[in-house]
């Protein structure tokens, strides 16, 4: 039961955090460069622009789901398994999702980077 809980929670973390990352990235690209905006319009205007994005709010919600799934997973499994497993799977899932949903140019350099990082994170658990 311990393993089922742990891996179920890890899967929930991966799916929710990938959805959250994609939504947040989409929202922030539409808001535009925060640094430039901050200097020209002020912090409140930046915050207002970000908070009005539905994809930002939905992204936050998915991140909250992912966060509590992570707490749940951590309470069952070792941090040395839970953290690397959910993180490495999230890197690969994010590369796929960013290409499909955000139309990012994921060239071989970025694939290699995502796989190296995912592989490295797995080794950290070994």
């Amino acid at each position: 039961m311990k393993h089922a809980y742990t891996w179920g929670a890890i899967l929930a973390v991966v799916l929710a955090s990938t959805a959250g990352d994609v939504l947040l990235s989409r929202a922030m690209k539409k808001v535009g460069d925060v640094g430039t905006l901050w200097r020209s319009a002020g912090l409140l205007a930046v915050a207002g622009r970000i908070l009005r994005r539905p994809s930002f709010l939905l992204g936050i919600f998915m991140m909250a789901v992912s966060f509590f799934s992570l707490l749940f997973a951590l309470s069952w499994g070792d941090v040395s398994l839970v953290a690397p497993a959910s993180a490495s799977l999230t890197f690969v899932a994010n590369a796929v999702a960013a290409k499909i949903f955000l139309h990012e140019h994921v060239d071989h350099r970025r694939w290699i980077a995502a796989l190296l990082v995912a592989g490295g994170v797995v080794l950290l658990a070994a």
Partner: protein
């Protein structure tokens, strides 16, 4: 990419690693949470270590949102994965855990991945058709130079 932008990426990395360390410590004190007691998980934020972890993760989130406003998701994620290297160093030197050869190899792989992605452009330029649909304001700064 300017020096200020690299600082933001460093902030993402540092705050995430520190926040996760505190969270892990707090959740070990809270103990196992069962499926039946799932609502109780909300109260785990009352643990001081969990609360401190959340504080750092808020800092992480602000820096992360900044980074995502001028860089691709597939750039920011690998670029900030040095946090795992940092976590390993924290485990080795502050928590006095034994770090095996395999883990050091993992550290090397992650560092290589970070090197790979930061060599490339930070932001995808959408030349024609995605421009209107995906981006209302044209993003500032090319991010193309290393």
């Amino acid at each position: 990419m300017t020096f200020r932008k690299y600082l933001v990426l460093a902030g993402v990395t540092l705050f995430a690693a520190i926040g996760d360390t505190f969270l892990a410590r707090g959740m070990k004190q809270v103990g196992n949470v069962s499926l039946h007691g799932l609502p109780d998980i909300v109260f785990s934020i009352l643990n001081p270590w969990v609360a401190l972890g959340i504080f750092f993760l808020l800092g992480f989130f602000a820096a992360y949102m900044m980074a995502l406003s001028w860089a691709d998701l597939t750039y920011v994620l690998p670029a900030t994965s040095l946090g795992y290297v940092l976590l390993t160093l924290i485990a080795k030197f502050f928590l006095h855990e034994q770090v095996t050869t395999m883990r050091w190899l993992g550290v090397v792989l992650i560092s290589a991945g970070v090197g790979f992605v930061t060599q490339g452009p930070a932001l995808t330029r959408h030349p024609s058709r995605h421009n209107q649909r995906d981006r209302e304001p044209e993003p500032v700064g090319t991010g193309a130079e290393p």
